[in-house]
């Protein structure tokens, strides 16, 4: 683990070390979940990306996803893949936020499962359990 936040810490299971956008992790460590906006054509991307295939620009500005969104769909996972055997049951969902941003994330363990339904108001928050992992997840509003 590096003290400034390394992409290697991202995700419950880590698959990624190298990226053009290490800043995403720095923001995450500060509690912010950020999208990127292409400085040339203005397109907004989440998950964030360094490159814009629409205009081929590669200068981005970082935009925080602050406002709550709505859960579009979800599932309670009872059979976990390798690396998640001891975490079941866990809930994964997709939520819709402002500016047509959608995110896929784990639901916070603090939400009772009986409260989870399509349409639930959620916001993106950061869950840090370093040195094990850092992720963004959904919290009930």
């Amino acid at each position: 683990m590096s003290e400034n936040g390394s992409f290697e810490e991202f995700g419950i299971v880590h698959y990624t070390k190298d990226t053009k956008i290490p800043e995403f992790l720095k923001y995450l460590e500060d509690g912010k979940v950020m999208a990127t906006r292409c400085k040339d054509c203005g397109l907004l991307y989440f998950p964030p990306k360094a490159d814009c295939p629409k205009c081929f620009g590669n200068k981005v500005e970082w935009v925080e996803i602050k406002k709550p969104g709505k859960l579009l769909t979800y599932t309670v996972v009872n059979y976990g893949p390798a690396g998640f055997e001891n975490r079941t049951p866990y809930v994964i969902g997709v939520a819709q936020f402002e500016d047509d941003i959608r995110a896929l994330a784990l639901m916070s363990d603090s939400i009772p499962q009986e409260d989870i339904r399509v349409g639930l108001n959620v916001r993106l928050t950061v869950k840090k359990n370093l040195p094990d992992y850092i992720v963004y997840n959904f919290e009930k509003v």
Partner: protein, 381 residues
């Protein structure tokens, strides 16, 4: 369009443990297809191996080509997740259409039994974007489960209706000697099976399997010389889709809608012209969404097709009457070829008890990932 046809089809038994090496497994399908076409290895110009390689062998096309005595003919590998099999057929079609080759053998093969189920679930989960999706424990059942949940919220689809797809496909699985599962499941068996990813239960999900398939394609002049019952490729369409969170719908697949428009257009047929279909029922929900994406019914009405038994033999639109992936098992790279084999045999009138009467036009719908890739192939006699 009757330029390129299928002259031979073959399939190994699909099983949970084949106890064979990968080239030996491939041979089972190759032999059946070659004997079906009445060809010898000298007649084959090139081979295409389709696999996602869930076993230690890298570049399996080399060792398979050697084992089948095809060297020094060209061979290559197609990896395209669960659509590898039909991507191989599409590529063979293109190679023949271009004039580069006249006769091409497409061999799909997958051996999954050597790995622990959770390891396979993890490998398969890496079909998603590993940075943004797999890292959260996202699996194949989870992806389809989210689509099932969305269909339940939007259309009032029920878990019983999902289960009825498995009831149908297990009914036909009992009649398929090559299926990994040949046991009739009741609605109760399915509803009471354990949750995998809600609302999907164990019996809403197909199983990993070992298996191989083989499809032999040839140019029209050769087809007519080999067989009196060639089955022609009338239309091909393909499509892809984004990461799960970047999609605008969870009740339909853009890749499938894109592919089917092209396939129907190229074949010059309408949905009502299809006599029999093989759809990619990796999960029960996948078959129901396919009914709508393929325009076999209107949006939100898939459940009425299964409730009304319209997708059984004798119904308006028979689907997966070989048991589907749910009964056969899903050896990733071999599945598209197995679907193709069923449709070819249906169009030749060779299916016996599960034959759809006077079937003239058949459709294969093969989907990779969770709608990430789709190939639609329309066949006619």
């Amino acid at each position: 369009m009757r330029e390129i046809g299928v002259v031979g089809v073959g399939q190994s038994n699909f099983s949970r443990g084949c106890r064979m090496r990968v080239p030996e497994l491939a041979f089972e399908a190759f032999k059946e297809a070659m004997q079906d076409a009445k060809l010898t290895t000298a007649d084959i110009d090139a081979s295409i191996v389709c696999s996602s390689m869930y076993d230690p062998q890298r570049s399996p096309e080399g060792t398979i080509s050697d084992y089948l005595d095809l060297a020094p003919k060209p061979t290559l590998l197609v990896e395209n997740a669960c659509t590898a099999g039909t991507s191989g057929v599409k590529l063979a079609w293109s190679l023949i259409k271009s004039g580069l080759h006249k006769v091409v053998a497409v061999i799909g093969v997958e051996k999954m039994s050597g790995q622990d189920s959770r390891e396979v679930a993890e490998m398969m989960g890496r079909t998603y974007d590993i940075t943004w999706e797999s890292s959260a424990g996202f699996t194949m059942p989870s992806g389809y489960a989210m689509h099932a949940r969305a269909c339940m919220a939007k259309y009032g689809l029920t878990e019983e209706q999902l289960a009825k797809v498995r009831v149908k496909n297990s009914f036909y699985g009992c009649k398929n000697a090559k299926a990994a599962y040949q046991k009739q499941l009741s609605l109760g068996d399915i509803m009471q099976s354990e949750q995998v990813a809600s609302p999907l239960k164990k019996f809403d999900c197909c199983a990993n399997a070992d298996g191989a398939s083989c499809t032999i394609l040839a140019a029209a002049d050769i087809c007519r010389g080999i067989t009196t019952t060639p089955v022609w490729i009338l239309g091909i369409g393909s499509g892809s889709d984004t990461q799960i969170s970047r999609r605008t719908s969870y009740t339909s697949f853009l890749s499938v809608r894109t592919a089917v428009e092209r396939a129907y257009g190229m074949a010059g047929v309408r949905p009502a012209d299809i006599d029999v279909a093989e759809v990619h029922d990796c999960f029960t929900i996948a078959e129901l969404i396919a009914y709508e994406d393929l325009q076999f019914c209107a949006r939100g009405e898939a459940a009425t097709l299964i409730e009304g038994k319209e997708t059984y033999v004798g119904g308006r639109m028979p689907v997966n009457v070989d048991g589907g992936l749910l009964s056969k098992g899903h050896p990733i790279g071999a599945t598209g070829g197995s679907q193709t084999r069923t449709i070819v045999k249906q169009l030749r009138g060779e299916m016996g008890e599960t034959q759809v009467k006077n079937a003239k036009i058949g459709l294969v719908h093969n989907v990779g990932g969770v709608g990430h890739y789709c190939n639609i192939i329309i066949f006619g006699r």
